[in-house]
């Protein structure tokens, strides 16, 4: 119908590593073998943590837990592109992001064990607490990034959210502000195929989520979210762009949630085993391993040592978690305001 085209947009897609572990040399980001190992170890650690957390939940030692399995490349690859002093804004599934960013694992368990204190980021770590209401942390990320821009700091802010989040108010208004005020933010959408039972194709009629960035006047790109190099590459470039003052980027990581939505979900109601099996073949950890083997960065010994080391770290975290004394009721009175109100002082007596 248009009579004259006044503007055109392209949605780009980036994959570096294929399912067989071949990397495209031209597209390969600069990463030393040591760094690749670091990425690998993080992914293995996160997977070990994730498996353990699931088991703890099944044993009644943890509350509802959202598994991240299958999404490790998206979470590690993006968060790894940040440096100390940068901020992250994670959502409920993003233990991978938090672990990459140094949030103590026993505190993550503590949080999932129903204790807010687990979300108190240690001083020096600008990890915004996990946000449960989907997408509502996005404008907060924009605002925090804006503050950094106002103070001319060299700080980048990265928000993580799912495909479902893109349908909500806060995504829209948060990204629009980010575009207008050109803030140093990177928006990482982990499109894991589902929002609980809703398949991505029913979430929005848009062909990609990346293209939603055009509505806000900045760049969106889709990447293979099970390809750690593609995610890292796109995230690094977006982070560099943000640091330069060239504004925000939306990165859509196409990945897959291998387990149910949460420990209370029955995914057989809305997807087939076969679909899950197809995606297992694209497993991000396996894929990186294949690459590392081919490139002689991974030996059997090394692999075994990583398995052992990460398992120990997770066990240690569980121990520490179970040693944390339970919170006290007075705690919630103390933290509602800087100073408890008269009402709260009175109510505290009812405990």
């Amino acid at each position: 119908m248009p009579e004259e085209t006044i503007k055109s947009f392209n949605v780009g897609y980036l994959q570096v590593l294929d399912d067989e572990g071949h990397a495209d040399k031209d597209l390969m980001p600069e990463l030393s073998p040591g760094q690749i190992k670091e990425l690998y170890e993080l992914m293995v650690l996160i997977r070990a943590f994730d498996d353990k957390a699931f088991k703890l939940q099944r044993q009644g030692r943890l509350g509802t837990y959202l598994q991240v399995k299958g999404q490790e490349a998206s979470e590690v690859g993006a968060a790894y592109a940040l440096k100390k002093g940068d901020w992250i804004f994670p959502s409920g599934r993003d233990v991978g992001v938090l672990i990459t960013r140094g949030h103590p694992m026993h505190m993550l368990l503590q949080y999932r064990g129903g204790d807010e204190r687990g979300m108190k980021a240690p001083e020096g770590l600008d990890n915004f607490p996990i946000t449960i209401p989907v997408s509502t942390h996005i404008p907060i990320c924009t605002g925090a990034a804006w503050a950094s821009k106002m103070r001319r700091e060299d700080v980048v802010h990265m928000a993580f959210f799912g495909d479902g989040a893109t349908s909500r108010a806060d995504f829209h208004e948060g990204l629009n502000f980010a575009g207008i005020f050109k803030v140093p933010a990177v928006f990482v959408c982990e499109n894991n195929g589902y929002a609980i039972s809703l398949p991505r194709a029913r979430q929005t009629a848009a062909e990609t989520l990346a293209q939603k960035a055009f509505a806000y006047g900045f760049e969106g790109i889709q990447v293979d979210g099970n390809d750690i190099f593609a995610v890292y590459s796109a995230a690094s470039r977006a982070v560099a762009k943000a640091r330069k003052g060239d504004g925000p980027t939306l990165i859509e990581c196409v990945t897959y949630r291998i387990e149910g939505h949460s420990t209370s979900d029955d995914d057989s109601r809305y997807r087939t085993k076969q679909e899950v099996e197809e995606w297992r073949k694209k497993d991000p950890v396996d894929r990186l391993e294949k690459y590392m083997k081919k490139n002689k960065i991974l030996t059997d010994e090394y692999k075994q040592s990583v398995t052992q080391k990460t398992r120990d770290m997770v066990e240690k975290a569980v121990e520490d978690y179970e040693k944390v004394p339970p919170p006290e009721a007075a705690d919630f009175f103390a933290n509602t305001y800087a100073q408890p109100t008269e009402q709260l002082k009175e109510q505290m007596k009812e405990l």
Binding site: G63, T64, G92, Y111, G113, G114, D115, E116, I132, P133, V134, S135, T136, G164, A165, S167, R168, A169, D170, A195, I196, S197, L198, R202, Q203, T204, S264, D265, D266, R269, Y270, P326, P327, A329, D331, F332, F333, T336, T341, Q343, L344, Q347, E350, L351
Partner: protein, 322 residues
């Protein structure tokens, strides 16, 4: 007659009304294929198809906003908000449009929607999955607010809500979704909106509650040394003041139990009305046992936050010993 829990009673009400009324559609996040995160809409999509039981995007403004449009244009949407904590973002649509379309158009357009939402704490849920917003909704003229406390009422009240010509927010106490089973007639019946239920006659004091707290209040009262008249409010808005006032006039003493924060909770409104209409009959201040004025804590602390037997019985003592 089958023994059903609250979720099953709701499911049955939806099913029967959908069979009767072709205009009725159910929409929300995960209500279709998955049958709802609590299975309240289980099996409905199989029976009525994807056009009438609709999985929507993750979009509370969209769910409530389009429901209003559906209702204005002749449908009877029953929308589910997955947890009432996510009702906040749709509250603008509720108060700006659902509650006002009748007035704004002087009855030319109306908004017969039902918004169902699991509500309240006590199930070790995540943050923002435990909210109790009945007072906020009751302060919103133009909508009705209904909270069943047991399976029988859940079915009868939901059918009334669906048939009501005005918007109804239907809050379902998660904590008793499966904790109570009782006989629920297979045939359809209604429980009228705007009528409280005197679930036990008594003479010493009136105890008023609603939602999940009803069960725990009843249980606590079994251990009290007094003969309490117990009232289940059931409809928060419009409130059945008459039943409450008559009871307090008789007993002269009253305790209110709710889990929402105390300040400006619905208990305050009940006290205000008792003050206005039963002042001379009161032998003691009306007492509130409620959640505290803090954000609902994560589950390690929720049992401190929620009114429990100890606090309820202390409240009884306070009212009786005044």
């Amino acid at each position: 007659m089958a023994r059903l829990n609250v979720v099953q009673a709701i499911n049955l009400a939806l099913r029967q009304e959908m069979r009767k009324d072709k205009r009725l559609i159910v929409l929300g996040e995960d209500v279709g294929k998955s049958g709802g995160v609590f299975r309240a809409t289980d099996g409905l999509q199989e029976e009525f198809g994807e056009d009438r039981v609709v999985d929507t995007p993750l979009s509370e403004v969209g769910i409530v906003g389009t429901s209003i449009g559906l209702a204005v244009n002749g449908m009877r949407p029953v929308a589910e908000i997955q947890f009432s904590g996510f009702l906040y973002s749709a509250y603008d649509q509720i108060t700006t449009h659902a509650a006002r379309i009748r007035t704004r158009s002087r009855g030319r357009f109306t908004c017969p929607i039902v918004i169902r939402s699991p509500y309240g704490g006590g199930v070790r849920a995540l943050e923002l999955h435990c909210e109790s917003q009945e007072a906020i909704l009751a302060h919103t003229p133009g909508i009705k607010v209904v909270i069943p406390s047991r399976p029988y009422d859940a079915k009868g009240l939901l059918i009334s809500a669906i048939r009501d010509p005005d918007p109804v927010v239907f809050l379902e106490p998660m904590r008793v979704y499966r904790a109570i089973k009782e006989e629920v007639p297979e045939e359809e019946y209604t429980v009228p909106l705007g009528k409280a239920d005197v679930i036990k006659k008594g003479t010493d004091l009136t105890v008023i509650s609603w939602g999940a707290m009803m069960k725990y209040t009843r249980e606590a009262l079994e251990k009290a040394d007094y003969n309490a008249e117990i009232i289940d409010v059931r409809t928060i808005s419009p409130l059945d003041s008459e039943t409450i006032i008559n009871s307090v006039k008789k007993t002269g003493r009253c305790l209110i139990v709710h889990e929402a924060p105390r300040t400006c909770g619905f208990g305050a409104e009940i006290i205000a009305q008792i003050n206005e209409k039963a002042f001379l009959h009161l032998e003691a201040p009306v007492e509130r046992v409620t959640g505290f004025d803090v954000p609902f804590p994560m589950y390690k602390l929720e049992n401190y936050y929620l009114p429990d037997e100890r606090r309820i019985l202390k409240g009884v003592e306070k009212v009786m010993k005044f």
